[in-house]
């Protein structure tokens, strides 16, 4: 598959203060591929999404690195990117109907108007699993549940015919039953449209289900990236391993309670010298307290930023 996106040493700073929200993030994504981004809250997952979607919050700026598209040669066009978020109800404008919301997007992206736009909006709503699409076009977001609004957001994203869908914690606010429905919908849509997907979640189960490759973030850095089965079954970075061990098991035969990670995530303005994980890491020694380890390959397509990676 051709390369869709390459992120190289991306740095996002809070200007004026010496705080790097993203501190050298690198990864790539091929057309049609799914990347899963995991990590504890505050590690920079959303900020990575915003940077790629070219919608960093006001006041924050890209201070280094590059985001390039396609083969990377100048002249490569920016692919169409759509985004969905954790809290669909508050990202929808309460004063507009669902129909208005979809039809304006269809005009913007496909120049559809009038009856054509209306018909396409209905088709999209039906596609994302909303029945009685015709009557729902006149509904307002507050009349819908969180799960229904997330479907509307997905329909809105589809209106752009994206080559890349960025889904930032799309199921975190939903019940597991609705999560299972949305995950299946995303799987179907990926197969139908061939779009690439970047899925952010703090739930490794969601990542295991959807992602082809996964990246684990810690304090604004990517500390491990690998094919998803490697990350889940054979994590190499001590933090990735710890994250997996603190997922409570649901398997009736496995009675091991979740294993906590000691301590807490350091603040971005008070990062430890060396590897940011060193205060919590059982393997930390020597070099770990001096310099942050570079992201280096340990196997094919498997990169780890650690001086003492766990052996495969």
């Amino acid at each position: 598959m051709p390369r869709l996106l390459t992120v190289q040493d991306l740095v996002v700073e809070v200007p004026g203060r010496n705080i790097k929200i993203l501190n050298g993030v690198s990864f790539s994504l091929d057309a049609g591929q799914t990347l899963g981004l995991v990590g504890e809250s505050g590690c920079g997952k959303s900020m990575t999404c915003y940077a790629i979607g070219n919608m960093l919050p006001r006041g924050l700026g890209q201070a280094g690195g590059s985001i390039s598209f396609g083969s990377g040669e100048s002249g490569s066009e920016r692919p169409t990117i759509a985004m969905i978020f954790q809290d669909p109800t508050s990202s929808l404008n309460p004063v507009h109907t669902i129909g208005y919301y979809l039809e304006t997007a269809l005009y913007r992206h496909q120049r559809l108007r009038g009856n054509d736009a209306r018909l396409e909006a209905m088709r999209l709503l039906e596609r994302v699993g909303i029945d009685n699409a015709k009557s729902r076009l006149g509904a307002y977001p507050h009349q819908f549940s969180g799960g229904m609004n997330q479907r509307v957001m997905i329909a809105h994203a589809l209106a752009a015919k994206p080559q890349l869908l960025i889904a930032d914690e799309p199921t975190t606010a939903l019940d597991v039953t609705m999560q299972a429905q949305i995950l299946y919908l995303l799987e179907e849509l990926k197969a139908e449209t061939g779009m690439a997907l970047m899925i952010v979640s703090h739930d490794l189960g969601v990542i295991a289900r959807l992602a082809d490759k996964a990246a684990v973030m810690y304090c604004g850095k990517i500390v491990e990236t690998a094919p998803v089965e490697q990350i889940i079954q054979n994590p190499s970075h001590p933090y990735a391993r710890a994250l997996i061990n603190c997922m409570p098991s649901i398997d009736p035969a496995d009675h091991q309670p979740p294993v906590p990670i000691p301590g807490s995530v350091p603040l971005l303005d008070d990062l430890p010298q060396g590897c940011y994980y060193n205060p919590r890491c059982p393997r930390a020694a020597g070099e770990c307290f001096k310099r942050f380890p570079p992201l280096a390959p340990v196997a094919q397509a498997h990169n780890v930023a650690c001086y003492h990676p766990v052996a495969a």
Binding site: S41, V176, T177, D203, M247
Partner: protein
């Protein structure tokens, strides 16, 4: 046999909902006909989709909202027969921990003041002694006593949740209701709180009700579980047996919806569609509109909770489902 610590009989709470201007209020049952028993030191989990009535049940148990019908007994005493003094004693012997630790804490009081407040209010200790006990309590929840003089905004989310737990346990209650107490926390912090809860329970004469929509966590902190759907308990039993062999289609669907950690399990149709809709309560089984196994009888006759192999299950077809639910895969 001594009386259970907590018992509810035929507990029902109905909320009136006005559907429009001058419309007759429609009755929504947040919980109906719930019979629960909890012994001293027992740990009960309550799960179900949001809106299934879990929080309402928790508030009913703690006497924070009156039932529409039915009775609640705590240490053998009916809530309805409790005097003012009796309620005071009840408040000392029970407590509630909720989801958002920041809003549960007073931003203008130090951590030490908030934890010791209960002791002072109930005149259980002098100021100096209560401060000392608060510091000891902080130590038990794994925080340094240096935190005593801090304010809530100076702590991380996980630390705040520990403070809330310390405050809930300072009077040594016999029963605590945890309502989504770990739901908003990161998995790493969640695992810390789970370990803490297991430790504290070991050391104390404590029973609790652990309300959550998280089917992964609950399994590691309770002895028994009750699954709620539209205000009813549809299955209850020993946590181990329910997870090994869930008998109600709803329990099975909930468990099968949890994404597996096995990356080869993909493209799995959701076990059930739609969502919980209180407007759809009709005759028959409340789960029928979403149940993949509904038969004619389910539309006419409401299933009652009955014994099925040591569990209590409200489904006409409870005996028919195979042992294992494949996590992340479709049911049956």
């Amino acid at each position: 046999m001594s009386a259970p610590l907590l018992e509810t009989r035929n507990l029902t709470k109905a909320f009136g909902q006005k559907t429009g201007w001058l419309a007759k209020p429609k009755i929504l049952c947040a919980s109906s006909s719930i019979d629960l028993q909890l012994n001293a030191r027992e740990r009960l989990g309550i799960v179900g989709e949001s809106g299934s009535g879990k929080s309402t049940l928790g508030r009913l148990i703690l006497g924070l909202t009156p039932p529409t019908e039915g009775e609640i007994f705590f240490e053998g005493v009916n809530h309805k027969a409790r005097s003012l003094q009796g309620w005071k004693q009840f408040r000392v012997r029970t407590s509630l921990v909720q989801q958002n630790p920041l809003s549960a804490l007073n931003p203008q009081m130090t951590i030490g003041e908030q934890i010791s407040e209960g002791l002072l209010v109930h005149h259980f200790a002098s100021r100096a002694a209560s401060y000392e006990r608060a510091a000891a309590m902080l130590d038990q929840v794994g925080l340094s006593s240096a935190m005593m003089s801090r304010y809530p905004h100076q702590m991380s989310g996980g630390q705040r949740q520990r403070v809330v737990i310390a405050r809930a346990l300072i009077l040594d209650p016999k029963l605590v209701v945890f309502d989504e107490a770990v739901s908003a926390l990161d998995v790493s912090v969640q695992a810390q709180v789970v370990a803490l809860l297991r430790d504290l329970w070991q050391q104390r004469d404590l029973a609790y009700v652990f309300i959550t929509h998280d089917l992964r966590v609950v399994r590691h902190v309770v002895d028994r579980i009750a699954v709620m759907y539209l205000g009813r308990v549809v299955e209850t039993g020993d946590i181990k047996s329910v997870y090994e062999w869930p008998r109600h289609p709803y329990t099975r669907a909930l468990l099968a919806s949890v994404p597996s950690m096995d990356p080869t399990i993909r493209n799995i149709q959701p076990p059930i569609n739609g969502e919980l809709d209180p407007g759809k309560i009709a005759g028959g089984c409340p789960f029928r509109p979403r149940c993949p196994f509904a038969i004619e009888r389910c539309g006419t006759e409401a299933p009652l909770l009955r014994d099925v192999a040591g569990q209590r299950v409200a489904c006409h077809r409870a005996e028919e489902f195979p042992r294992s639910v494949q996590m992340g895969k479709e049911v049956a």
